[in-house]
């Protein structure tokens, strides 16, 4: 019998022994993204190691680089919270001047991208640097102890948006940085999720092969921050797609009228109710005493899909 080949490369750029929590969703993103990137570099330049990483402060920076050890097997630079995109731009400019072949990868969490590093990201996209920026979205500042970010969804508990008598938790809708990036009319913008690892892999590979900037927003559940059991990480991410909470799409060349969707139901009707996604997570537990808040969350998700040009029905 022929030996089946794995669909992803067996090279590892993310070594074991890092300090991420058991079942970390974002660690899966780091591992798959670097694998995909190396495969793209091998196909494009013939050298799988032709890339360097600039990493904003965040969960994955803290867990991977506990001095004097590092979990990275690629050139990696840790920079401040706000300037991963700026440093990646600088490295890219230096590589261009020195005549190096390759591409730069930048990682930032949702806090480091949506809140603190937004202007550096915008500058990088506007200057058209040859960088792939990956935002791993765990929907709060998890490494400092679960404070809300602008990417936290409506109704979620965090330590700075506690639900109670006068509060329903986070009371503002989620910010979609992918759409802000698309407004720069850059060659490639996409969202992905660990729920569909091969789709994630394909998108990172595609982004890495394009000349010019690319931005990816990737959903990565957080075990302590979302109050989920560690084995449910991928299950929760899958439910986010099946209930319509997380859209999977690609926008090429800023052509916002021609968004390609993945895993979108043909008739726009999602089969699973959003409650199935919420009830797995402790951060939404209080919403079940407030049905009007769940209704409001549904309205916001419909509004988000409307921005993407789709009319959806949520059961």
């Amino acid at each position: 019998m022929a030996v089946r080949k794995p669909p992803i490369t067996t090279r590892e750029y993310w070594a074991p022994g890092h300090a991420a929590c058991a079942g970390c969703g974002c660690a899966i993103i780091m591992r798959l993204a670097t694998k995909a990137f190396s495969e793209a570099m091998e196909e494009k330049y013939g050298d799988p190691d032709a890339f360097a990483i600039a990493h904003a402060t965040g969960c994955m920076e803290v867990v991977s680089a506990v001095f004097p050890y590092t979990a990275w097997k690629a050139p990696w630079i840790h920079v401040a919270f706000e300037n991963a995109a700026a440093v990646a731009s600088g490295v890219e400019a230096a590589w261009k001047k020195l005549g190096y072949k390759g591409k730069i990868l930048a990682f930032g969490g949702d806090g480091g991208t949506a809140d603190i590093g937004l202007q550096a990201l915008s500058g990088m996209l506007e200057r058209r640097h040859n960088v792939v920026y990956i935002m791993y979205d765990n929907e709060a500042y998890m490494n400092t102890g679960i404070q809300r970010s602008s990417s936290t969804p409506y109704g979620a508990w965090t330590t700075t948006s506690p639900p109670g008598k006068y509060s329903i938790g986070e009371d503002k809708p989620k910010k979609w940085v992918a759409l802000i990036a698309a407004a720069h009319q850059i060659p490639y913008v996409a969202t992905a999720s660990i729920a569909d690892p091969y789709d994630l892999y394909r998108k990172v590979k595609k982004a890495a092969k394009i000349d010019g900037p690319a931005f990816l927003q990737i959903h990565g559940p957080c075990v302590p921050g979302w109050r989920i059991p560690p084995e449910k990480t991928v299950e929760v991410a899958k439910l986010a797609i099946e209930t319509g909470v997380w859209p999977l799409f690609e926008i090429e060349n800023g052509d916002i009228r021609n968004i390609k969707f993945q895993r979108f139901p043909k008739d726009g009707k999602f089969k699973k109710p959003i409650e199935e996604y919420l009830k797995l997570q402790g951060r939404f537990k209080h919403l079940f005493k407030r049905p009007e808040a769940i209704q409001e969350l549904k309205e916001q998700i419909k509004a988000m899909w409307k921005v993407l040009g789709k009319e959806v029905e949520l059961p």
């Binding site: 030996v3 089946r4 080949k5 794995p6 669909p7 992803i8 067996t10 590892e12 993310w14 070594a15 074991p16 022994g17 890092h18 300090a19 991420a20 929590c21 058991a22 079942g23 970390c24 969703g25 660690a27 899966i28 591992r31 798959l32 991977s64 680089a65 506990v66 001095f67 004097p68 050890y69 590092t70 979990a71 990275w72 097997k73 690629a74 660990i194 690892p197 091969y198 075990v223 059991p229 560690p230 084995e231 449910k232 990480t233 991928v234 299950e235």
Partner: protein, 105 residues
């Protein structure tokens, strides 16, 4: 059974750590975190039944550590030195070839 690809890494890292001193703020040995045996965190341990495995590679793809590597026939092998016992592999396995059992030390 194939040998863990991280074994060679440990030897390399240990050798380099004794030879050179790490200057401030630079961790120059790639992948040196392999020295930290995070397997001690584990409460539940994945047990693998090779007969049920269809080699879909989902456990290999999803492992966040990575504590799963592939042997010569591309069956998954678990590296218990690093497995934190999160249980994603057992939860996502389509044929339930992986079961989580309580760790006995």
């Amino acid at each position: 059974m194939a040998e863990s690809p991280f074994k060679a890494d440990i030897e390399r890292v240990e050798k380099e750590l004794t030879e050179k001193m790490t200057p401030g703020a630079i961790a120059y040995i790639p992948g040196s975190s392999v020295i930290n045996k995070t397997g001690s965190w584990r409460v539940f341990k994945p047990e693998f039944n090779k007969d049920k495995c269809i080699r879909c590679f989902l456990c290999y793809t999803y492992c966040p550590e990575p504590a799963i590597y592939l042997d010569e026939e591309n069956y998954p092998v678990f590296d218990y030195d690093y497995c934190k016992g999160c249980g994603i592999c057992a939860n996502e396995c389509p044929t339930k070839a992986i079961t989580m059992v309580r760790e006995v030390k």
